[in-house]
Amino acid sequence: MLRGMRESLRLLLGGEPHRPEPGEFSEEARHIHELKRVEGGARHELKLLKTQDAKESHKWRNRRWIALILANVLFLVSYKLDIQILEGSLSASRLLGFHFIDLNSALQVMLAHKHIIVNLLIGTLTIFVFWVLFGGRAFCSWLCPYHLLAEWTEKLHLYLARKKIVKDHVFHRGMRTLLWVLFALLALATGYTVFEAISPTGILSRALIYGPGLALLWVLLLLAFEVFYSRRFWCRYFCPIGLTYGAVGLITPLHVAYRVENCFHEGDCQKVCLVPHVLSCVIKGRATDARMEIGADCTRCGLCVDVCKSDALKFEVKGLSKWL
């Protein structure tokens, strides 16, 4: 388990997945891989049988979009109708009076201000526990408004890429770790919450609740860059918030779990994934265990679960799955 966590952290910080050594495979996984080699043709038949009735599903995507929109609209409605359910914005809020404070914003304030009052600490710990329970980077795909906009503009990018009008340019994922460290140091050294000045998450959340401003131009610029130059550039390679919540994801019980036995290695999951490096175990012969947990960088968006027609990828809660 510890080895899995170390690998998960390595990928989170920007490392590339690699082919496992022969010694890393469990007996069961080796057996399944061997069976798949032997049964090649028969499995092809099985796959047709298993997947012919499967309809295109958007179950998790739809649930997620509804949750994301509802949560963000609740901030707005709470304020405009003065019903005081969820006051504030994504950086800090009160849910029925309980302090909720975004981990990355809290980190910036703590480093810049170097003075932590009780409410700040309580709110930060509450949100830490919340995202430990609900899957770390699930913050990104289930709550962050920029993620939703980027998901929509990604469709435009993919369309233009199919027409060969634009080309995706890959960045090094280690940039996010570098920026995370630099923004932490900048906050510490300058005493300003430097990252907040450019955080599209904060800007969008405030724009939605308190009205639009010029700062939206920066968000538009990022989106345009993603459409015309690099697919999902901000969330994939740069946003330090993703790393903060990814770190929480190292210890969460909520995962997408992969069962190699059910997998036909079509690779559709990696194609729809924001962070396809976490799905390297779906490549034929890579899974080291019969059941693998997808790593901390996974945003639990469920697109892979939707696209997998043979139930090889599923949401699971460690310790609870038996009971569900």
Binding site: A112, L179, L186, T193, E196, L217, F238
Partner: protein
């Protein structure tokens, strides 16, 4: 199903070239992101923005460091005096300020609800000892809110001022010209709110819904929510002049109600008392 063509290993020269490009692209991208974030320093360095901060705000540097830019203070203000700054404020983006000419803080919340709402202590009743405010910012005593004057606890628990009022354009001042004022305090269509104790103890109303008929304009004195903060006094040249006293907290009500254009009396934001 189409069989994928046997993949040839990429020529290593091409591979190296792509890796080099990716490295350059990544370094450039990170540089641009950092560069853009560094732009946020410009407005601060220029010190062009002397924003009036909400009551209880820490000194500006500490305030910007500790404000988490959530806007909970904005949400509790009954007169919506608090606004969040846009990107032109640099690192002050998302931090609350008051534009007193548009809407002053009239303390119609009877306390300072914004202070109670702040989750990080950027607005606070009691500043940590190592973040003490400048001496001139300290109030001589707890300011008495006229609306609560008859209550057992009539004071606002504020230990520092937000700024201080100043008769910036004495030539425009109606009182100094011996003129009165009739009608709404401000131009038609002005949306600002103010609490008038004689109209509604609990609810602020549009300023212009309360017409005046004054032989000598003393709007800044009569609208001031703080006891003994401002009075009309005979000047050396015999003209009646608004005089600001040390009890002024800098809330900006005088600037908002001043009927001249531009206002004769203004708030010097974040400035201390000069005797």
């Amino acid at each position: 199903m189409a069989v994928p063509p046997a993949s040839k290993p990429l020529p290593s020269r091409h591979h190296k070239e792509e890796a080099r490009r990716r490295f350059l692209r990544s370094a450039l991208g990170a540089g641009v992101v950092l560069g853009v974030s560094a732009l946020g320093y410009l407005p601060v360095a220029g010190a062009s923005q002397h924003r009036l901060r909400p009551p209880g705000a820490l000194e500006e540097d500490d305030f910007l460091a500790s404000c988490i830019k959530c806007g909970q203070c904005v949400q509790v203000c009954p007169v919506e005096a608090l606004k969040l700054a846009d990107m032109v404020d640099g690192y002050g983006i998302g931090a609350p300020y008051i534009a007193p000419r548009d809407q002053a803080c009239d303390f119609s919340c009877d306390a300072a609800q914004c202070i109670l709402a702040c989750p990080t202590g950027a607005l606070t009743y009691t500043k940590p000892s190592h973040m003490a405010a400048r001496g001139a910012m300290r109030m001589p005593g707890p300011p008495i809110l006229l609306a609560k004057e008859k209550d057992p606890e009539p004071t606002l628990n504020l230990k520092e001022r937000m700024g201080v009022a100043r008769l910036a354009r004495p030539d425009l001042c109606l009182a100094r010209q011996g003129k009165g004022h009739k009608g709404g305090a401000r131009e038609a269509g002005f949306p600002g709110l103010l609490r008038f104790m004689d109209v509604d103890r609990w609810r602020p109303i549009p300023l212009n819904d309360h017409p005046f008929d004054l032989a000598l304009c003393d709007l800044c004195v009569r609208a001031c929510p703080i006891k003994d903060a401002i009075s009309l006094e005979k000047d050396g040249d015999g003209r009646m002049t608004p005089v600001v006293h040390e009890a002024c907290v800098g809330c900006g009500v005088c600037e908002m109600v001043c009927p001249t254009e531009p206002a004769a009396i203004v708030i010097d934001a974040r400035k201390g008392w000069r005797a």
